[in-house]
């Protein structure tokens, strides 16, 4: 039988055609367990199948499959025996050999022709659809092992998809059909041998419509192949009952049993050869999408881990001692189009030239501050800029040089996302008493209310 992993994978795909399954746990597990896409997908399918009971059902199905085949053979045999019985007239013990041959081999030859046509013209349907018996076998097994629900259908559908893809469906279905027919013909042959051995029958042929001489020629022509195996060839005139009985047995053996056995062996050989091809088509969009999703769940490879201890709010102090009673305003990393000063300044506020953040201008600012020692320093920043450690460093450098420090976020309205981001950042780096504001009126006066969250 098909290996369980590809079968479950395809079965899950069939189930998910109706909508995705909940797979958070399974997907995470699969992404962690394997490195390759195929293994991950198979792992996920196995986990999901376990949850849905598909795996157990599949094990049951493997166990049941031969028995279902035997049951089918039994049914066909019974039908065959019934046919064999029908050709024997029990009251007169007469057997019409031609009618008997047609009854015994007719259905068999017809189904054989259909199967051969499927093998010879595989293009008719993509990958072939398999014979009726083969289909019956698969569906009955799935039904018996998994019940009537969507799961059984999904597994059966998965099996069919795999077999089609490996171009094995015709051969597997053929194997089932040939085995069943071989068993049935064997039983019929046995019954015939038994009957002809221990009872006296009158064998002959009769016809109303056709020329009896033609019949004789047909009988002789059909006897050629059995003749190679040592069966007597009846003469055209009046062959004895014994010769005709041998002829009948020879025909059933050569045109019935032996071809079926040979073809069953051929199918088994094809199965051996192509079984490794029974793999899902991972190029399908479904699998590609799944692979991408599982890949995304795989833990990222960290090459250079973060070893910095969680932010430790460094101690800082404000300037103390004699401070000049002045508010100094300067800008830091402002865009070039920013007007300076940004707003008319109230009395007591003095604007210094803004600095661009370069090393030289930073140093110049620090020099100026250490000379002036202002009571308050207001640093104007672009609210839209991203806070960074360069800004933090400047803040930590100017804090000891002024009595108080405030940030003026230019271009941001109060409580906008941008202003809030700056405020959160200030708190995160531990500079709690550095207030930020967006409105020029807060330049002067009491500690700013906006600083409060």
């Amino acid at each position: 039988m098909i290996a369980p992993a590809p079968l479950l994978t395809e079965g899950i795909r069939a189930l998910e055609a109706g909508g995705p399954l909940e797979d958070a746990q399974a997907a995470r597990e699969a992404a962690r367990a394997h490195d390759g896409d195929a293994q991950r997908i198979a792992h996920r399918a196995a986990v999901l199948a376990g949850r849905l009971g598909l795996a157990d059902g599949l094990a049951r199905a493997r166990h049941l499959a031969p028995w279902v085949l035997l049951g089918l053979a039994l049914a066909v045999t019974l039908a065959g025996l019934g046919l064999a019985g029908a050709v024997v007239d029990p009251s007169e013990r007469r057997i019409n050999v031609m009618a008997a041959l047609v009854a015994l081999l007719g259905a068999h030859l017809l189904s054989l022709a259909v199967w051969l046509a499927a093998v010879l013209w595989p293009g008719g349907r993509k990958g072939g659809s398999g014979s009726l018996l083969g289909r019956l076998w698969l569906s009955a097994t799935a039904r018996l092992a998994l019940g009537r629900g969507a799961e059984a259908a999904a597994v059966a559908q998965g099996a069919l998809a795999l077999l089609r893809r490996a171009r094995l469906l015709t051969w597997v279905a053929g194997l089932a059909s040939h085995v069943v027919w071989a068993l049935a013909l064997l039983a019929a042959l046995g019954a015939l041998v038994f009957a002809l051995s221990f009872r006296a029958y009158t064998l002959g042929w009769e016809t109303t419509l056709l020329d009896p001489a033609d019949f004789g020629r047909i009988v002789q022509a059909l006897a050629v192949a059995p003749g190679w195996l040592g069966f007597a060839v009846p003469d055209a005139g009046r062959p004895t009952d014994r010769v005709l009985a041998q002829w009948l047995l020879g025909c059933v053996l050569v045109y019935g049993l032996l071809p079926r056995i040979a073809l069953a062996l051929l199918c088994a050989l094809m199965w051996r050869l192509r079984a490794p091809r029974l793999q899902p088509d991972f190029a399908l969009p479904y699998y590609r999408r799944l692979a991408a999703r599982l890949e995304a769940l795989a833990p990222a490879t960290v090459l250079d881990p973060d070893t910095v201890a969680p932010a430790r709010p460094a101690a800082y102090s404000h300037a103390s001692g004699a401070l000049a009673d002045v508010t100094l305003l300067t800008g830091f990393e402002l865009p070039p189009e920013q007007a300076w000063p940004p707003a008319p300044l109230p009395a007591g506020v003095e604007a210094l030239a803004p600095i661009d953040g370069g090393q030289a201008q930073r140093q110049a600012l620090l020099d100026a501050l250490s000379q002036r020692r202002p009571r308050r320093l207001v640093l104007a920043l672009d609210a839209g800029a991203s806070p960074d450690r360069g800004t933090e460093r400047l803040l930590r450098e100017v804090l000891p040089l002024a009595g108080e420090c405030r940030l003026w976020l230019l271009g941001g309205a109060p409580m906008t996302a941008q202003a809030e981001r700056w405020q959160r950042w200030i708190e995160a780096i531990g500079l709690r008493d550095v207030a930020s504001f967006t409105d020029a009126s807060a330049l002067h006066g009491a500690p700013v209310a906006q600083a409060a969250p």
Partner: protein, 482 residues
């Protein structure tokens, strides 16, 4: 994990570097189509370690991207590096990496420089073009250049009104970086990705063949995704075309009950449409909930827009041509109710006649039987299918143009109205055979399908035809957009 390491050795390694919050992780999400990679936030220093993420081709890592922390204090670092002993810039950088500051104040920057020096073949320098040209950015470029790797500046947010792209280009040219790629991580330009890899080839002549393979793979992947998207929409249209709601004659005569039945069918169609939207989102690597967090105009206004809005339906009906808009624009067709005794009127409206003829007497007989029993059957009008096809196609185009960086501005998509009506009408007309197969709309068809019955082959054929027409419509939209 042996294979992973082997892959990494063969893969082209590209470090993604830049100032904090320039959009490095967003760029990577878009390039690798992994919406959940890393962490994107407005706060600085969100990425604090160097993380590898692979772009896989046929299961093999073709490009290994390194997501690095942002540079935050380049000014001080450059000043520090300048004080270190060493004859050349690169020697001084190595000196810094061995020194104590590389594990202290400048740990974040050290990781970037280490990745640049030893772990990559080239680097994408992500630049937020909205930022003014400040000394810190110049210092960053100088530090990165000191590592001696080919640098490819990637200009981000070039679509923003505040972009200073021209200034940045000048600055980059002064720094000796002439090859520049515009790539908006949130809303990449069509073909931007292709350009990115092609231009990278000029910096890395030795890897040009590998990069060409990446471009080829991306094109194939995009075509495959588009194909699959058309198939998903086709599935939706066919399912909706096949939907039926049987109504008793007595219920039919009662306006309230009739309305209820109509509403029931509409609800079924809406549910199916929602499922289609979710499937499309998943196909393009978005989570179902992302619609809210990543605004898409199609989803914002239009999804809530009623499929069965009379005005929309009327317009759609006009595009479909013929008297298809004759129905009272309720979006629902009653097969038998319309003409009373006449079978033809309702059937022609729903396009079911074509289906009935194609399907032989089966569905026709069913309908006659229904009529004898006094049962009316409601189905979804073609104009409603047209509206569905239109909005879903617009969604696909929006998704194709949208990056995976969260926190993105909405994307401006060529309006769905621009979709050529003829191609869409073709797609809608192609669903007609489905009207004869109510069972196609049912989920229970799984069992019927696995038997491989001819019916499923027929459904497939209809799906193929609808998908083909949708593909043509999408193609026409593409040429319109470019």
């Amino acid at each position: 994990m042996k294979t992973a390491r082997d892959d990494a050795a063969a893969a082209l390694r590209i470090a993604v570097v830049g100032h904090t919050n320039a959009g490095k992780t967003s760029l990577l999400r878009t390039l690798t189509r992994r919406i959940d990679f890393g962490e994107v936030s407005e706060q600085p220093g969100t990425t604090r370690h160097v993380e590898a993420i692979d772009l896989r081709i046929d299961g093999r890592a073709a490009v290994r991207f390194l997501d690095t922390p942002g540079l935050e204090d380049a000014v001080a670092l450059l000043a520090h590096v300048a004080t270190l002993p060493g004859g050349t810039r690169i020697e001084r950088v190595r000196q810094f990496l061995q020194g104590p500051e590389a594990r202290g104040h400048f740990e974040q920057e050290a990781k970037v420089l280490r990745a640049l020096l030893d772990q990559c073949d080239a680097a994408f320098v992500v630049i937020d073009t909205r930022a003014p040209l400040l000394p810190k950015y110049r210092d960053e470029l100088e530090l990165m250049a000191a590592c001696g790797r080919p640098l490819m500046p990637v200009l981000n947010f070039v679509r923003d009104t505040a972009t200073r792209e021209r200034d940045w280009r000048t600055l980059l040219a002064e720094a000796g970086l002439h090859a520049v790629v515009r790539f908006d991580a949130a809303a990449p330009f069509t073909g931007a990705e292709r350009e990115l890899y092609t231009d990278l080839g000029t910096l890395l002549p030795g890897r040009r063949e590998a990069l060409r393979a990446v471009v080829r793979h991306l094109a194939l992947e995009a075509a495959g995704r588009r194909d699959e998207a058309c198939r998903l929409i086709a599935g939706l249209l066919v399912d909706c075309a096949a939907m039926r709601e049987a109504v008793d004659a007595t219920d039919w005569d009662d306006p309230a009950r009739r309305q209820q039945a109509i509403e029931q069918l509409r609800e079924r169609a809406r549910t199916r449409v929602q499922r289609g939207i979710d499937a499309l989102l998943a196909l393009y690597g978005f989570r179902a909930g992302d619609a809210a967090e990543a605004p898409l105009p199609v989803l914002e206004g239009r999804a809530s827009m009623d499929l069965f809005n009379p005005q929309t339906l009327k317009t759609a009906g006009l595009h479909l041509g013929g008297g298809a808009a004759v129905g009272a624009a309720i979006g629902i067709v009653a097969d038998l109710a319309v003409g009373g005794a006449s079978l033809g009127a309702g059937a022609a409206l729903g396009g079911a006649l074509g289906g009935a003829l194609a399907q032989g007497w089966g569905p026709f007989g069913r309908r006659v039987l229904g009529r004898l029993r006094g049962v009316h059957e409601l189905s979804v009008e073609e104009a409603a299918l047209y509206v569905m096809a239109q909005s879903q196609l617009a969604l696909v185009l929006a998704l194709e143009r949208r990056g995976h960086g969260a926190l993105a501005a909405p994307v401006d998509v060529a309006g769905a109205e621009a979709a050529p009506p003829a191609a869409l009408a073709d797609a809608v007309h192609a669903t007609r055979p489905a009207r004869a197969h109510a069972e196609w709309a049912r989920n229970a068809s799984l069992r019927e399908r696995w038997t491989g019955s001819s019916a499923s082959g027929e459904r497939q054929a209809v799906l193929d035809e609808v998908a083909r027409a949708l593909g043509a419509a999408a193609q026409a939209l593409d040429t319109q957009a470019s």
